[in-house]
């Protein structure tokens, strides 16, 4: 009989020490500094209690709108990516011709750097000279030509569209992996029972895809809460401050040297992410167990 070797628990110590020194301690120090007025203009760091948080949540404050924008982005960007990605995954798992080529094409944008995407789409979405409006005008669809990145009504939908273009392939790939693990005989039995596409989707595919949905939701929500690059390169928070989110605000606070406020915003983001991720994991794992 093969013996299982049990290593000493002390072997975990180096990793644990590194984790504590480089992650836990800085996190707690950061949380402490969020209650101070730490800034680069003064060497004195004063404890200000909840003052930074009060400024964030004061009615009419810019910060509050950044928090709102971040939460909206998190919800909407996930909806516009996950639903189409699911249907694309179903389509590209149904043995259509050239499905691997289609998968590769859809995944390709996820490999592009955000800077490249920003430069390309800023040019494509230019109201006068951009490819999108020029194409719409050529097709006689002038009424659909919009001021994509500068009109307050269209700037967010434009960001969602570009973000979806980049992210759908990645989400779809996770769904395809999930779909490939569903035993085929479930569908064969359903076919014998005369189930149609939607019945199979509701009663077999979606329940069996819950692990993939959980992964996509966790990735999507953490990405949404941490969003920075796509906003920074497409609008830099503009027009005005319409598309500022928590991370662009943190970047600007640190640039201004108001570290206390910057760490308060970071702490807030950290709390949001912990709460949402824990809740989501609990809900989804409970449902997975029920299966």
């Amino acid at each position: 009989m093969k013996k299982t070797k049990i290593y000493s628990k002390y072997f975990v110590l180096p990793g644990l020490v590194l984790y504590i020194v480089f992650f836990v301690v800085p996190s707690f120090i950061g949380i402490y500094f969020s209650f101070t007025d730490w800034n680069r203009y003064s060497s004195e760091v004063k404890f200000v209690g909840l003052e930074n948080y009060r400024a964030i949540f004061a009615s009419g404050s810019n910060y509050l709108s950044y928090v709102r924008n971040t939460l909206n982005f998190t919800i909407i960007s996930n909806i516009v990516k996950i639903i189409p990605a699911l249907f694309l995954a179903l389509l590209l798992s149904s043995n259509i011709r050239g499905q691997n080529v289609h998968r590769a094409i859809l995944f390709f944008p996820a490999l592009l750097p955000y800077l490249v995407i920003g430069l390309i789409f800023r040019s494509m979405l230019h109201p006068q000279t951009g490819f999108v409006n020029n194409m719409l005008r050529t097709l006689g669809l002038d009424f659909m030509a919009k001021r994509w990145l500068i009109d307050p009504k269209w700037v967010w939908p434009s960001i969602y569209a570009v973000d979806a273009w980049r992210g759908i392939g990645y989400v779809m790939t996770i769904f395809i992996a999930g779909l490939s693990s569903i035993p085929r005989h479930y569908y064969e039995v359903a076919d014998i029972d005369g189930a149609n596409f939607f019945q199979k989707l509701i009663h077999i595919t979606l329940p069996m895809l819950k692990p993939a949905i959980t992964i996509n939701l966790i990735f999507g929500i953490t990405y949404g809460l941490k969003v920075f690059d796509i906003i920074f390169v497409l609008t830099n928070g503009g027009p005005g401050r319409m598309t500022e989110v928590i991370n662009t605000a943190i970047f600007k606070e640190f640039a201004l040297g108001t570290y206390g406020m910057g760490t308060a915003l970071s702490t807030l983001l950290f709390v949001f992410m912990v709460v949402v991720s824990v809740l989501l994991l609990k809900i989804m794992s409970k449902r997975e167990l029920e299966l």
Binding site: D37, N39, R40, Y41, S42, H126, P127, Q128, R147, L149, I150, P152, F232, N236, G237, G238, P239, G240, R241, M242, F251, K252, F254, A255, L256, G257, T258, Y259
Partner: protein
């Protein structure tokens, strides 16, 4: 014996090779905002490399991001060896904290190459920290299509009403009266700040009172009026329908003006050189006039401009100093002004051949001496530091998200925040 000799020779060769490699392996990183650098900087950097073997890696950052990125890098202790920033005597401490971040260059020979009026902008506590090689042209006045104005019978506007009238006439010809852009974050602040002399003219001593916190921006009616007029110009379409999408790149500005799509823009006179280079067949004549918002007729005098600094924690301080020595040599200053695509002169004490344009001389000669006034950003504390934030606010005003009065309140709030953090007694 022979064996030992071979070892010694080999050792000496190794040391010599190592020394050469070490010298030629030095690379200075230099971070600069897109609008401040041109091919002439790259050419000079290449010449420096050929002479010394020290490479210069010029990192050009989009204007909208340069300020925040540089400040973030400085605050994180990861700045490049050489960096550019626009400062003034009031802002240098807040913007740079020079004692902590910059190398003291007071004893460098080239300090006397700079115009003495510019030295306070790169100095703190009697120490010189920066090298400012900048031009002395009329800065950010209206650059306009003289030919078009003559064809439409428009006189050079000297009041806001006359500017509006001119814009209406131009607009009726389906031409954008003013090429304006906000995408780089800074240009939209100019019409408000370059007319600082007018505020001082209307309320003598207003700069001192603002600096002593005896009055706030929001209490200055002319400032409110200036913003309201800027908003009115945007609303009336004088900047064009989609000006928020304008990129503000030199190519786009030149194209808009040289092809007659736009009639004016706030720019430096050197723009004419860019137009001549890109559109040699363009037959338009060009001229300059002062920004007539709130009937301003003061000349925007500004001894401050972007300057280079050496990062204190750099490992290549000596190489960077050599680079500054090289840039300030007479023949290289002459090279700069001979090959610069935009500038017509260089504000240095060294006797070099300048290339002033007739239209610059024409404008300057017309202006009475008492109309040369310091611009707002150089005369009032804690304004230059928030330039990009004011830019955001003005953009928000253009889309209707912020009122002019709110912009002034925001400026006051940010000034108070900085002043209190520094411990300015006027704000205690």
């Amino acid at each position: 014996m022979k064996k030992w000799m071979s070892v010694v020779v080999l050792f000496m060769l190794w040391v010599a090779t190592g020394t050469v490699c070490a010298q030629s392996g030095v690379t200075i990183t230099e971070m600069v905002s897109q609008g401040w650098t041109t091919e002439v900087d790259f050419a000079l950097a290449e010449m420096f490399t050929q002479e010394t073997g020290i490479r210069v890696d010029i990192q050009v950052v989009p204007a909208a991001q340069h300020h925040d990125l540089l400040k973030a890098k400085l605050n994180a202790g990861e700045a490049p060896d050489v960096f550019w920033i626009q400062t003034n005597p009031f802002a240098i401490k807040v913007e740079l904290d020079p004692e902590k971040n910059c190398v003291d260059l007071s004893n460098e020979k080239w300090v006397e190459v700079m115009n003495p009026l510019r030295i306070p902008s790169v100095s703190y506590d009697d120490k010189v920290y920066g090298l400012m090689l900048w031009h002395n042209s009329p800065e950010y006045v209206f650059f306009y299509n003289k030919t078009l104005f003559e064809e439409l019978g428009i006189d050079v506007p000297t009041t806001y009403d006359a500017l509006k009238e001119a814009c209406e006439k131009i607009l009726s010809e389906n031409i954008t009266p003013i090429y304006e852009y906000t995408s780089q974050g800074w240009h939209q602040v100019l019409p408000f700040a370059q007319i600082g002399g007018r505020y001082e003219e209307l309320y003598p001593g207003i700069y001192d009172r603002l600096n002593n916190n005896e009055v706030k921006f929001v209490d200055v009616p002319a400032m409110l009026q200036a913003l309201e007029q800027m908003k009115e110009m945007a609303d009336k379409g004088y900047y064009g329908e989609d000006f928020l999408a304008n990129t503000g790149t030199t190519a786009e500005i030149v194209n808009s003006l040289a092809t007659g799509q736009a009639a004016m823009t706030l720019a430096n006179p050197g723009l004419i050189k860019e137009i001549e280079a890109a559109y040699p067949d363009c037959e338009y004549e060009w001229g300059l006039f002062l920004i007539p918002i709130i009937d301003n007729q003061t000349y925007p005098f500004n001894p401050n401009g972007p300057a280079r600094f050496i990062y204190k924690n750099s490992k290549n301080i000596e190489a960077a100093k050599k680079y500054f020595d090289f840039l300030t040599r007479k023949e290289n200053l002459q090279y700069r002004i001979d090959h610069h695509p935009e500038w017509t002169n260089l504000d240095v004490t060294v006797d070099i051949e300048q290339h002033w344009l007739p239209m610059e001389i024409e404008l300057i000669e017309k202006i009475p001496e008492d109309k040369f006034k310091l611009v707002l950003q150089s005369g009032v504390k804690y304004f230059n530091e928030q330039w990009m934030e004011v830019g955001k606010d003005i953009e928000a005003m253009y889309i209707g998200a912020l009122e002019p009065e709110e912009i002034l309140k925001n400026v006051d709030d940010r000034r108070a925040k900085i002043a209190k953090a520094i411990g300015d007694p006027a704000w205690q």
